[in-house]
Symmetry: C2
Subunit: 436 residues, 2 copies
């Protein structure tokens, strides 16, 4: 074929090769396991939806980034850019078929045509959980607790979850007479880690028109010694106790009761910018590389599906950005290398024995051993190249003598240690005994 | 908000609610487990690709069905309509990073704008396996063996896998002097189950111009008494032994050696129509409802990635159509109902105890029990509605007396049987002992 096409993927997209995909699958499976163990249930929604459904609430930035087109039926459609908007539509559409509180997880791809840059892709995976239909401290705490448990399950324990409450901040701004400027103020505060205190102060002075206001805001967003001391300070600056501070204290009590309070800090500088959150908000940083940003964020919102139903559904949720998390794990040297799920390889020593090899494989599989038969009598070096790439622990060698005696030679491939003249049953036993 | 949007999905698309999604996840996990145990490794490719890459080899029908558009960067892009074309592009692009034979699985969604009809969706899930880089009977047999094992793992054992070899049929047509009409003949033969023997004969007479040819073809595609007798007949009609019949005999020997030969029939009417297969081909029918069509099909091809690389990569693969398989399981009453992954629910009997409930939940989770805390003190009937929907086995009741005594009442929700005054440890033991 002279007319060959250069194989390539679109800008901002990528293939995932086996070792990396095994790692991704492993993380997803562990996260899923934890989500399930807290009572979250899976749903699925279409990748394509009416643009009207996905984009009505969005700002101009999202519209520019979305993959949107006219389908063959002249419908204006778009690929989902997050899992929250489809979930809101889903909840409204199936309200009568669901029960509340409804706790769902959804681990799936989303698409945004962002400017490609290091570690940023146009197709990426989100791992979302949300509880809707309950405005309670228990639901808030549960999400915070799942976040920690999911990260622990994948071996990430050196982590800090930063928590805040938008309601307390709003009260404080009201007391300061700056409520109507809250959007600009939030936008500036959100940049603290990025542009530094002085630059944020300069912006705040311009926004509020008063140095004293800027300084009060900066004082507000600084953490005190510990969670409780910070909460006391925020309460004081916001004008005293109210539902929001009571809620934070209740959540804190639950953290202590569950013995996980050390993972959380009260960080008044976390606001989640212009997002639709109304209550608790949180971001999660790997202590070893906070610079990659939050790997798990979320918060409480007043009304999930107001665009589609008159039922008011308060909720709380979080999302693990799997791609960013993996970037972090790579930086920390915490990724594992695994080339396959195999326990053993039956090498093809003699092509006249290929039927016998399948028989042995069937016996081993019936005992729960993951095994493949090398399908052709290639040079042994070529066969080893495959078992190396697939990180197979055990080689099974059967030449004509072994086949005649109905035995095998077992070989630990890493050390080249050999165990000759084992029956298939003995070989199976050895493989299983060293499987962890 | 007066300006509400009607929540709805696009024609031919659908949401999956929790009980159905749990079923789907369960099937996928079991199929994945089997694929892995035979040495297949996962990859991932983008949902969106250049239209040129996806569509070059396709026929007009595919082009009409594909979701294709111009992206914001003026690129002509399309959503994948199968997992084979992206795999061919992947293999060519990463040839130097892979090892061969390369065995991959890919379980993912594909999109086709087909006319929506009962059980047909525009977004559906395929579970593909392929082995490329080996033209061997062992590789052919392995795919056939995985198909059976994957279906067995999900409880589908009453199944027949129909196998055939395109090469033998091609030799037969050559002998008949009808090679150049093979496309039309294949198309007719493929319709046997749908339109019946007489209608196929009429088409064949028209195509070949001779009643005797039509009758010979009909004789060829009829099965004899058993696999071996049929193979003898095909060999005879195709002009004697050749590589193709030797291959079929070798595969048959492997089926017998592995003790799984009863599942397979040699069915000369299976051709996979105009697909690119060149060797063995197969289709799989649930014996209880063959009318839903093949739930797992595939075959051997000469050259996977010839459009993108000069390396000739022979391969063999199969694909389970998850949506059709589920439709079949539903018809057979073989689907299971499961509302969540929970073992137990801690009811909220008294809102003053919410912190205590979290403490108990943390202790139970540390013992490996999947448990959720009902987050608010709602009417007990409302709490039961949730545990019913989520099919939770155990209720944990803690009122003020129990909390004071640091005990719980365990309740088997289905039978209402109660086990009062258990310590949390005793309750955990009972829950775990009845978990299968």
């Amino acid at each position: 074929m002279a007319d060959r096409i250069q194989p390539r993927v679109l800008k901002g997209f990528r293939d995932i090769l086996p070792a990396a995909e095994i790692e991704r699958a492993d993380l997803q499976e562990k996260i899923t396991k934890v989500y399930r163990s807290f009572g979250f249930v899976p749903i699925d929604t279409p990748v394509l939806e009416y643009s009207e459904i996905l984009l009505r609430k969005s700002n101009g930035e999202t519209e520019k980034q979305v993959f949107r087109f006219e389908d063959n039926g002249k419908r204006d459609v778009a690929m989902r850019f997050d899992l929250t908007v489809p979930f809101a539509r889903f909840t409204a559409e199936h309200e009568s078929e669901l029960y509340f509180p409804f706790k769902r997880y959804h681990i799936a791809k989303v698409w945004r045509g962002e400017k490609p840059q290091a570690g940023r892709y146009r197709e990426f995976m989100q791992c979302d959980i949300d509880t809707v239909g309950s405005d309670s401290a228990a639901a808030d705490f549960e999400i915070l607790s799942v976040m920690k448990a999911a990260l622990a399950e994948i071996g990430v324990t050196d982590v800090t979850i930063h928590v805040n409450h938008r309601g307390i901040f709003n009260r404080f701004l009201e007391k300061l007479g700056q409520s109507e400027k809250s959007e600009d103020i939030l936008r500036s505060v959100d940049k603290l880690a990025k542009i530094g205190r002085d630059a944020v102060r300069a912006e705040l002075v311009e926004t509020t028109g008063a140095e004293s206001c800027a300084d009060e805001i900066l004082e507000y967003i600084a953490s005190a010694d510990d969670f409780d001391a910070t909460l006391d300070k925020l309460e004081r600056m916001a004008g005293g106790e109210a539902d929001d501070t009571k809620r934070m204290r209740e959540i804190r009590e639950m953290m202590k009761a569950a013995g996980i309070d050390a993972t959380y800090v009260l960080d008044p500088s976390i606001t989640r910018g212009l997002d639709y959150y109304t209550g608790v908000v949180y971001e999660t940083f790997l202590n070893g590389c906070p610079e990659i940003g939050s790997v798990c964020s979320g918060g409480r919102y007043d009304n999930l599906a107001g665009l589609y139903t008159k039922t008011k559904l308060p909720g709380v949720g979080a999302s693990i950005g799997l791609d960013r998390l993996i970037a972090g794990l790579e930086k920390l040297g915490k990724t594992t290398k695994k080339g396959s799920y195999l326990d053993a390889e039956i090498f093809c020593m003699d092509k006249s024995l290929v039927v016998h090899y399948q028989k042995v494989a069937a016996v081993l599989r019936a005992k729960g051993i993951a095994v493949e038969v090398f399908p052709e009598q290639k040079k042994i070096a070529q066969q080893y190249a495959v078992t190396d790439a697939k990180c197979v622990k055990w080689g099974i060698i059967i030449g004509t003598d072994e086949a005649a005696g109905n035995v095998v030679t077992l070989k630990k491939l890493e050390t080249r240690e050999q165990f000759p003249s084992l029956t298939v049953e003995q070989a199976a036993e050895k493989i299983l005994s060293e499987k962890n």
